[in-house]
């Protein structure tokens, strides 16, 4: 393998492992690395000829670093892309090499990412790909718990569990998760209440202060009168089932059927 590649990868690693990595430098380095790897033919090599495990491990490590970098930079698009790039190295190419330490961390982050976006279907697909034994691993287990609580609607539970994420890197996703939960709650309260007083609202929305609630009300065009929050239930009448009409029609069909027989 090329000396230059090694050098590049080392530099990349160094950059990423810094606490506040430089976004532009990192991305530039990553692209450079990828191009170099592509030229070397070790980025997604064809399956026709024997592969060198060393190369695979090398590429995998670089791609793993790229994932971590994207998390650190909080660049979610990049994150999604990098995860799907590294995945073949866990499942297809990975069958022949030693498992990476970071594998479960990265897959776990991916799961949490999907949960935070409420992409439950994909979440389960990804989950199926992970070996059953690994479910007890803290990285994965955390996600399973979150998903369970989410299903139960136990948002408070999530709140608590999220206070202790298995890795620092998870915090990005945890905060995103909280946001999406908040959205869910907002959606529900909108339907269930006509008005709420601000304090209850604050607790319900898991917000820090009443100010936050007020801001929220502003963005959603909710009125606040006398410390009370009034929801605008615009789409109230839309989905009323035309009961009488349906009943009448069904009886009509039954009659017709009777006649035919």
């Amino acid at each position: 393998m090329d000396e230059q590649l090694f050098k590049l990868s080392k530099e990349f690693k160094f950059q990423v492992e810094q606490k506040q990595p430089d976004s532009i430098a990192c991305k530039k380095l990553l692209t450079k690395l990828k191009i170099a790897m592509a030229e070397e033919g070790i980025l997604f090599p064809g399956t026709d000829f024997p592969l060198d495990p060393k190369n695979i491990v090398f590429t995998r490590d670089v791609l793993e670093l790229a994932v971590i970098m994207s998390v650190k930079l909080e660049d979610m698009d990049l994150f999604e892309r990098q995860v799907s790039q590294v995945k073949p190295y866990y499942f297809d190419y990975g069958t022949e090499i030693k498992k990476s330490e970071n594998e479960l961390l990265i897959l776990g982050m991916n799961l949490l990412y999907l949960l935070s976006l409420n992409r439950i279907g994909e979440f389960h697909t990804e989950l199926e790909l992970i070996e059953f034994e690994s479910r007890s691993n803290p990285f994965i287990k955390f996600n399973l718990q979150v998903e369970e609580l989410l299903l139960d609607g136990n948002y408070l539970g999530i709140q608590t569990i999220c206070e202790n994420p298995p890795s620092d890197l998870y915090s990005v996703f945890v905060s995103r998760l909280k946001l999406s939960i908040q959205e869910l709650i907002l959606d529900c309260t909108n339907k269930s209440y006509k008005s709420l007083d601000l304090k209850t609202a604050k607790d319900l929305f898991m917000m820090e202060s009443i100010e936050e609630v007020k801001e929220m009300a502003k963005t959603n065009n909710w009125r606040i009168v006398d410390n009370k929050l009034f929801f605008e239930n615009l789409d109230e009448d839309e989905e009323k089932i035309p009961t009488n009409k349906v009943i009448r029609e069904i009886i009509g069909y039954a009659k017709e059927l009777e006649k035919i027989i």
Binding site: I35, F44, P50, P53, K87, Y89, D92, T95
Partner: protein, 1040 residues
């Protein structure tokens, strides 16, 4: 270590990378994985398309090929092709994988489609330009007479025509608009097509390339291919056949042929026969006459023979109009002064004059050939000489027919006419005078007309034969026989009416408006001056039509059609169309609408206007005519659009007659591919509708005539037992047609169907319509002395106009029985006639490489003994037992015989003697048993056959796998492929491919004396002595 990828998502993710190199890398990876992961990739097809469209992106073509492959897997071939075109070099046409092959075939389809649209438009524009130029020079009055594609669409009144014109123009505008939008061929597509051609050339797949080039209308490529191939001869013939058979667009066909002609002419050794073939197709009489003249000027025998052969071929294939033109163009004989005798010295011609004399003689010969007289005469001689009519069959039917029944009696006469068509043998009629005396009215008309059938083609003697019946002005015999004789005159002189037409016209004028005579005369004129297009005659016929007499008007309508056959004359169409709407007689409307269809014969697209008008008329008879117009205009073209229309009408029209006509018309369209017809008609033959079933039977009959097509027979068999008697009738007639010229050895069903005919006629309770079918069927199966077949194409595969028209009018027999005779126009003698340079038949042999019995004439039915008529005696059970035993024995014997057929001749002789002895005994014992006798008859027949075979064996002991045939001989359609010319030591055919028809023979030993075959007409000579008996007296008819 090898790895199986389970997902391409990683690579797809690379597409989102900002860097172009990475994207390219990803695309390259995807390209190799697309066959496996296309489903996954299709989710991100948008990204790939965006890359293709991004003009900054360096690997756009790569994106295109990936997109193309994904779309291919998704089944969106249009999109796939679009991207493949964008892929440029990356779309490699030399690849053999499925993707490439599918796309190439797709691109060919697209290309061909577009090319044909574009070329048609170009042609139309060209025509329009020509039209405009013409119009500039012409005055307005002339314009009306102009006979063009446009005019044909404007048949109705003037107002309509203006509308039509308007429509036409808007259509044209639309076309040009479209052209600017979508119909311009993508140059990239053309590039691909061209590269495929190059590849074909490299791999020597010339025939494939040629086929595609012809379809894609790339004349340049066709030319290139032909010039490139070394075996040009083969390629040229191949191209010629394709061009003639499969190119449907007329002008394009002509263009291809013109190109072929150029190639043929540029070759050092001129292939006159093929050149003339093309010239005929291009209707270029002028060039053709030049070539003929050149050949005649050449002194070698070979060119002389070539000229004669071309002449015969021309007569067979060309239209009357073309032949007339050709004869006019040929130079007149150059006058040669007779040398003057001087002082007792016998003056001799100068060498130059001698040459001229020879040339003149040759020219006369050619003209006579082109006029058709030679061919007709030769066929007549052949039919007369090889007549194998078995009247016993007919007598058997006659005996079972109630002579008081006028329909069936006249059917017997018709059947006889068909059987002896062209044989000049009227023994049957003469022997059954008493019986004929019963005939009256229209039956008499038919029986007199049947004389015309019997003497069909006997041009010289037409008047002599019919003399006693022809109208003489002074009252005379009944109008029915007079009318019939005029019809007969037409039948004899079909297409050769130079002499008889004036007589017929005279008769038409002098008949004092007797509608029966008018009827006969009109039909006669129609036949004799078929396709002449003479306006004066036309007006005479039109006057008859305008008299509004149902009987005469119907005939006049048909006759007008025959006279104007294939001219597309818009004036005639206009007048007939108008009259059809004025008159109230259904017969006239029918005659006229059939007439109109005849005028449109072979006009293809040009007839669309008329077809449209007729088929949307509310009068069902005119719609009926529309179906026949389609049949005539597109005869033999298998045109898909027309076919679809017919099928639609066949199942949707409210009128049964129209539906029947539509089904029959399908037969006319498809007759060149008889094997396909049963498949097309199989569902219609099982229709609930009687008329549709009848139509299907007829269509099968006319298309598969003389082929014994297995599928056709299978479809017809249940129809002969149909519940409806008319359907049975049609099926019986059709079966007769299909089995023409077949013997039991080739098709075992023959004997079965013959027995069925007999049974039906003798069955007391059978409906007379079915009986009629059986009698006609029996006539057709043995028609023309068993020496003719029905075919709508000539030996070279051209449409035989006469035959097509004959069958079309024959199918009107449903309404008017005398029209049955028109079927004789479709009779083609299946002869091989060898001729020397003087147009005489020398003794000449050909070899048929097949067992003689396979193509032998059927054995004649042995006349039943009179014993049969004895009162049947009571049969005791003992005798019955005995009888059964005997039968069993006989059967055993039969089996033994069959087993032993390979035995030595000696053994057979011995055995035969024993058999004969036994037989004699048996005969004495059991004279009375009818069945027994039949059994014996069969045995005898068998023995006869054996004897015949033995004789042959003695003649040539080595093989019996072949047969030597003497000139002139019958060669059935199936036999053709067994014919070789290697046995005759002296004569060789001038045209190698000719295995039937009239063949000019090259004499390899010109110095020796030639042995010629003498032909004499027994019957005609006798006739002159005996003369025809007086026409039978009118007979009072009592209905039962």
């Amino acid at each position: 270590m090898s790895v199986v990828l389970s997902t391409a998502s990683g690579i797809i993710a690379l597409l989102d990378e900002p860097d172009n190199d990475l994207k390219t890398y990803a695309l390259r990876k995807l390209d190799s994985l697309v066959d496996q992961f296309w489903a996954e990739i299709s989710d991100s097809i948008g990204k790939i398309e965006a890359l293709y469209e991004d003009e900054e992106f360096p690997s756009r073509t790569l994106a295109a090929i990936v997109a193309s492959k994904v779309y291919y897997h998704l089944g969106f071939l249009d999109d796939s092709l679009l991207f493949a075109l964008g892929a440029g070099q990356l779309f490699d046409v030399s690849q053999r994988d499925e993707f490439t092959r599918t796309l190439i075939s797709k691109s060919f389809n697209d290309y061909i489609e577009k090319r044909s649209v574009i070329t048609e438009e170009e042609h139309k524009l060209k025509l329009k330009k020509q039209e405009e130029e013409k119009n500039k020079t012409k005055t307005i009055f002339e314009e009306e007479e102009e006979d063009s594609e446009l005019e044909n669409m404007l048949i109705d009144s003037d107002e309509d025509s203006e509308q039509d014109e308007g429509l036409y123009e808007t259509k044209n505008e639309k076309i040009t608009l479209e052209k600017t939008e979508s119909e311009v061929i993508d140059p990239r597509l053309e590039k691909i097509i061209n590269s495929v051609f190059r590849r074909c050339f490299l791999e020597k797949e010339f025939k494939e390339a040629l086929g595609i080039a012809i379809e894609a209308r790339r004349i340049d490529i066709i030319k290139e291919i032909i010039e490139m191939v070394d075996k040009t001869d083969e390629m040229l013939t191949y191209c010629l056949t394709i061009a003639r058979k499969y190119i449907q667009s007329r002008w394009y066909r002509q263009e291809v042929l013109t190109m072929l002609l150029e190639i043929y002419e540029s070759r050092p050794e001129l292939d006159y026969i093929n050149i003339c073939d093309i010239l005929l197709f291009l209707n270029d009489a002028e060039r053709l006459s030049e070539i003929l003249n050149d050949l005649l000027l050449d002194e070698s025998t070979e060119s002389h023979l070539n000229a004669c052969q071309i002449g015969f071929d021309l007569y067979e294939n060309a239209s009357q109009h073309f032949l007339n033109e050709l004869v006019l163009l040929l130079p007149d004989p150059i006058p040669v002064n007779k040398p003057v005798e001087k002082d007792g010295i016998v003056a001799e011609y100068t060498p130059r004059e001698q040459k001229l004399l020879v040339y003149n003689k040759k020219m006369d010969q050619i003209k006579s050939i082109l006029s058709g007289r030679t061919t007709i005469n030769l066929h007549l001689q052949f039919l007369n000489r090889n007549n194998k009519t078995d009247l016993q069959n007919l007598l058997r039917l006659k005996e079972k027919t109630d002579s008081r029944h006028s329909l069936l009696t006249s059917m017997i006469v018709m059947s006889h006419g068909l059987i002896s068509c062209g044989t000049t043998s009227d023994v049957f009629l003469r022997e059954n005078l008493g019986w004929l005396a019963n005939i009256s009215n229209w039956a008499k008309f038919c029986s007199t007309a049947s004389l015309g059938l019997i003497h069909k083609g006997h041009l010289d003697k037409a008047f002599t034969i019919l003399e006693p019946y022809l109208p003489h002005g002074s009252g005379g015999s009944s109008p029915y026989s007079e009318g019939g004789s005029l019809y007969a005159l037409g039948l004899i002189n079909t297409k050769h009416g130079e002499e008889v037409t004036p007589f017929l016209l005279e008769a038409l004028k002098n008949c004092q408006r007797n509608n029966i005579i008018q009827h006969g005369a009109c039909l006669g004129i129609g036949l004799s001056s078929m396709a002449v297009g003479d306006m004066q005659t036309y007006e005479e016929l039109r006057d008859v039509l305008y008299n509004d007499d149902a009987v005469a008007g119907e005939a006049a309508g048909i006759a007008m059609g025959l006279l104007m056959l294939g001219t597309g004359n818009s004036k005639a169409i206009q007048e007939m169309w108008n009259y059809a709407h004025q008159t109230e007689h259904e017969k006239i409307i029918r005659g006229v609408s059939v007439g109109m269809s005849l005028i449109m014969y072979g006009k293809e697209q040009e007839a669309e206007g008329l077809i449209e008008q007729l088929s949307s008329d509310k009068d069902s008879i005119l719609r009926y005519g529309a179906m026949f117009t389609i049949a005539m205009a597109y005869a033999g073209t298998s045109n898909e659009k027309a076919l679809r229309k017919l099928l639609h009408v066949a199942v949707s029209d409210v009128n049964d007659d129209v539906r029947r006509a539509a089904v029959i018309a399908i037969g006319f369209l498809l007759f060149k591919e008889p094997n396909q017809v049963p498949k097309t008609l199989s569902l219609l033959a099982k229709s609930y509708n009687n008329s549709v079933r009848f139509g299907a039977a007829m269509a099968l009959g006319i298309t598969c005539a003389g082929t014994a097509n297995k599928d056709a027979l299978e479809l017809l068999e249940p129809l002969t037992k149909d519940l409806n008697n008319i359907v049975r009738q049609g099926a019986l007639i059709a079966t007769g047609m299909v089995l023409m010229q077949f013997n039991e050895k080739q098709e075992p069903k023959v004997s079965k169907i013959k027995d069925q005919f007999y049974e039906i006629v003798s069955d007391k309770y059978e409906h007379k319509m079915t009986k009629m079918g059986a009698i006609l069927g029996a006539g057709l199966i043995d028609a023309g002395g068993r020496n003719v077949t029905i075919s709508m194409q000539t030996t070279t595969g051209e449409n035989d106009m006469k035959a097509i028209v004959g069958l079309a009018i024959f199918s009107q027999y449903w309404f008017w029985h005398p029209l049955t005779y028109f079927i004789s126009l479709a009779f083609q003698p299946t002869a091989l006639i060898g001729l020397n340079k003087d147009l005489n038949m020398p003794k000449f042999k050909v070899k048929s490489n097949a067992k003689p019995s396979l193509f032998a004439y059927p054995n004649p039915l042995v006349e039943k003994k009179k014993v049969e008529k004895k009162v049947e005696t009571a049969v005791l059970s003992v005798t019955k037992k005995e009888q059964r035993r005997q039968e069993e024995k006989a059967e055993q014997k039969k089996n033994n015989e069959e087993d032993n057929s390979q035995m030595d001749s000696e053994e057979i002789d011995e055995k035969k003697k024993i058999e004969e002895e036994k037989e004699n005994e048996e005969e004495k014992e059991k004279e009375k048993e009818k069945e027994k006798e039949k059994e014996k008859e069969k045995e005898k027949e068998k023995e006869k056959e054996k004897e015949g075979k033995e004789k042959e064996k003695e003649e040539k002991e080595e093989e019996e796998e072949e047969e030597i045939l003497e000139n002139p001989t019958r060669i059935t359609l199936d036999q053709r492929k067994y014919i070789t010319f290697d046995v005759d030591p002296r004569y060789k055919p001038i045209k190698e491919s000719a295995k039937f028809g009239i063949v000019m023979l090259l004499d390899t030993k010109p110095d020796e004396d030639e042995e010629l075959i003498e032909i004499e007409f027994d019957t005609t000579e006798k006739k002159e002595e005996e003369k025809e008996p007086e026409p039978p007296e009118p007979f009072e008819y009592f209905s039962d």
